[in-house]
């Protein structure tokens, strides 16, 4: 047995011998009806049951966007970046925190829309603290739909909340029956490690599966706190939790697309917090990809993650290790690829721009270079001859723009006395300003807009609020 098989076997043993606690009566009943052993709130799955139900899940699937140009395949060799997710705070250049607001949500949605690295928008780009929590899922989803025609991320919640989001997606995409035929809105499900899934996340699975919409099953057991300190044991625990969530989804709706999304962390045992800038975190991503391939499922992991609370050398090298590890190992969905700081505690506009540069660099690195007569070009070397130089060669002139790619924000011209960091942050501001200035809202067909507005009104959100929403600007000077 190789390492991955051993981890998988161990995960199976966890599910059959220890079981997993499920805080949802209806889900427990459904499992019971399907022959899963239930003892009070704990479900025990046999290895055969796990293998049988997981085999129902597709190995890859297409996520459809409002604009078909952004449709993407999730799985196989495809890799997609997604922005930071879930934060309720924004850090400025100095690392000073403030609450994130709806205007931040709009800004990030526009930035994501503008950037070619992303095909998926929405979800919890930043929690709008100025919107009551009970309706924030509606406002975020509406804003994402209005701001962008890329693929959509959903938001987990109770049954009513997830149903509302699914109904909005149905309005956007031509009705429930159309929605049920194609994956359109992708929702992240978290477990509570070790071995518990709460009511909210089980409700999210129940409703998403009923609408046949894809889910990312994302346990985040943390080696040393909510998981065993050894990475092998921690990965097996996360695997067990993800497999249980996948089995539940498949029992509710065989064939519903799911992503094997282990977010297995390590703890900083000096404080008890997680550490996602560490090599041990990146090492686990590698295993996540191998486990996903073994299970024939698409994979998900974290992206440009760091434990630094401010843009700093530490933020740079940790994010690069983490993003590179995800990309090179072939993670299908690389969430938290832009903007995240301080172990998922906050978003930062400056970090967002920095991370776009990391993605540019990684993709350029992955492009490699060609070896052929043109790129070897003996004539060129003959014409320059020993002791000459290539700066003045026509070949160099012809290719100097395409072959000497300039960084988005990085500073290479270190002449003169100006402090280099000043220039760096100026480039960031310029880049942000330009992306937001160039943003153009994609057209929304008027009948769909009317349906969406009626739906929102039905949820108690009056038209003037929506009107205001559509006119909110995101001038970063205001922040």
């Amino acid at each position: 047995m190789n390492k991955i098989e051993k981890i998988y076997q161990h995960a199976l043993n966890i599910l059959s011998e220890v079981g997993i606690k499920l805080k949802h009566l209806e889900v427990l009943n459904i499992l019971d009806e399907n022959g899963i052993q239930i003892d009070e709130e704990t479900a025990f799955f046999t290895p055969e049951q796990v293998a049988y139900w997981i085999s129902k899940a597709p190995g890859s699937f297409t996520l459809y966007a409002r604009n078909p140009a952004y449709n993407i395949v999730i799985g196989n060799q495809h890799r997609h970046f997604m922005a930071g997710y879930g934060c309720a705070a924004i850090y400025d250049k100095e690392g000073t925190a403030r609450d994130s607001l709806l205007s931040d949500y709009i800004c990030f949605a526009r930035l994501v829309h503008q950037c070619s690295h992303f095909s998926i928008n929405g979800g919890i780009l930043a929690q709008p603290n100025d919107v009551p929590a009970e309706i924030s899922h509606l406002i975020m989803t509406y804003t994402a739909m209005m701001t962008s025609d890329k693929c959509l991320m959903g938001i987990p919640g109770n049954e009513d909340q997830v149903t509302q989001i699914m109904e909005m997606a149905a309005l956007l995409f031509g009705g429930r029956s159309v929605l049920e035929k194609t994956p359109r809105i992708l929702t992240m499900v978290s477990t509570i490690s070790p071995l518990l899934i709460d009511e909210m996340d089980l409700s999210t699975i129940l409703i998403s599966a009923r609408y046949n919409q894809p889910m990312i099953m994302s346990p985040a057991s943390t080696a040393g706190t909510t998981g065993p300190i050894d990475l092998a044991g921690n990965l097996a625990l996360s695997t067990a939790e993800a497999m249980a969530a996948i089995v539940i989804a498949q029992i509710i709706r065989p064939g519903v697309p799911v992503v094997f999304g282990l977010q297995s962390n390590v703890a900083n045992l000096r404080t008890g917090n997680i550490s996602v800038g560490s090599p041990a975190y990146s090492l686990q991503k590698k295993a996540v990809c191998e486990l996903a391939r073994y299970l024939k499922l698409p994979s998900r992991s974290g992206g440009a993650t760091t434990d630094s609370a401010v843009i700093s050398p530490q933020a740079g090298y940790e994010s690069m290790l983490s993003l590179m590890a995800a990309y090179q190992n072939g993670v299908n969905l690389i969430i938290h690829s832009a903007g995240i700081l301080n172990s998922y505690a906050a978003m930062s506009y400056e970090k967002f721009m920095m991370d776009l540069e990391l993605m540019d660099m990684i993709m350029q690195y992955e492009d490699g270079f060609e070896v052929n007569d043109d790129t070897l070009n003996l004539e060129l070397i003959k014409s320059v001859g020993p002791g000459g130089h290539f700066l003045g060669a026509a070949d160099t002139m012809r290719k100097c723009r395409s072959h000497s790619r300039q960084p988005r924000i990085g500073v290479r011209e270190n002449f003169g006395r100006r402090p280099p960091l000043e220039k760096y942050f100026k480039n960031i501001d310029k880049g942000l300003e330009q992306m937001l200035r160039e943003y153009k809202q994609p057209d929304m067909p008027s009948d769909i807009l009317r349906h969406l507005n009626d739906f929102m009104a039905g949820q108690g959100i009056p038209a003037p609020v929506l009107e205001q929403l559509n006119h909110l600007t995101c001038n970063l000077e205001d922040f």
Partner: protein, 209 residues
């Protein structure tokens, strides 16, 4: 002298050595009260400081706390005999809707190590459960933890409910958790805010003394 070595044993997480020391000290005529206050609690203060400075790791601090708990068990009957056990009761929990508990558990541990009798009532705790626990345990201090901005309002609801139930004057309410700030604590009418487990225990002590 013997008390200094207790600190050493605690810092070294050496439970067996600590138990021997406590038993020997009792045989030599030290009072249970002194052993608790000058030996164990003073030792745990050093442990707390070392945790704050990062010199001790959390699992080591937990081991030290466990060692202390076992020694307190030995001292308990004697403390009760002499009426020396007047440790205040603390009720701690994560508020309704919130399931994060790692930080809360650390606060509970530091409170215990500071000599409080801690009743950890868990996560996702509605206001009524807090109130029932305060009454049942005759708590002097209540700690509310929240990690989500979306559950911070539940902190205010809990404090309001405690006021409405007529027992607000009986308890000091402390709040904490990553998104919570001093300013927020003041707006919702809490008595204090602590940014980490060590300062939570210190703050609680300052209210009792």
């Amino acid at each position: 002298m013997v008390f200094n070595s207790m600190t050493d044993a605690l810092v070294a997480c050496d439970k067996d050595r600590l138990i021997v020391m406590v038993k020997t000290a009792l045989e030599q005529g030290e009072s249970a009260d002194d052993i608790l206050n000058h030996g164990l609690i003073a030792g745990m203060e050093v442990v707390g400081d070392r945790m704050e400075s990062g010199d001790m790791f959390i699992p080591e601090v937990l081991m030290a706390a466990q060692a202390m708990t076992e020694c307190v068990e030995i001292l308990k009957p004697l403390l009760e005999e002499t009426g020396g056990n007047h440790a205040a009761a603390v009720v701690i929990g994560t508020v309704k809707g919130d399931l994060h508990d790692i930080g809360k558990n650390l606060v509970a541990m530091m409170m215990e190590s500071a000599g409080f009798v801690v009743h950890d009532i868990g996560v996702d705790i509605p206001a009524e459960t807090f109130i029932a626990a305060i009454k049942e345990k005759n708590a002097k201090i209540v700690c509310l933890s929240a990690l989500l901005t979306t559950t911070m309002p539940a902190m205010k609801q809990t404090i309001d409910a405690i006021s409405e139930s007529g027992i607000r004057d009986q308890v000091k309410i402390l709040v904490g958790g990553a998104p919570v700030t001093q300013a927020f604590a003041e707006t919702i009418g809490a008595d204090g805010f602590a940014a980490d487990a060590g300062s939570a225990a210190k703050l609680a002590k300052s209210f009792i003394q």
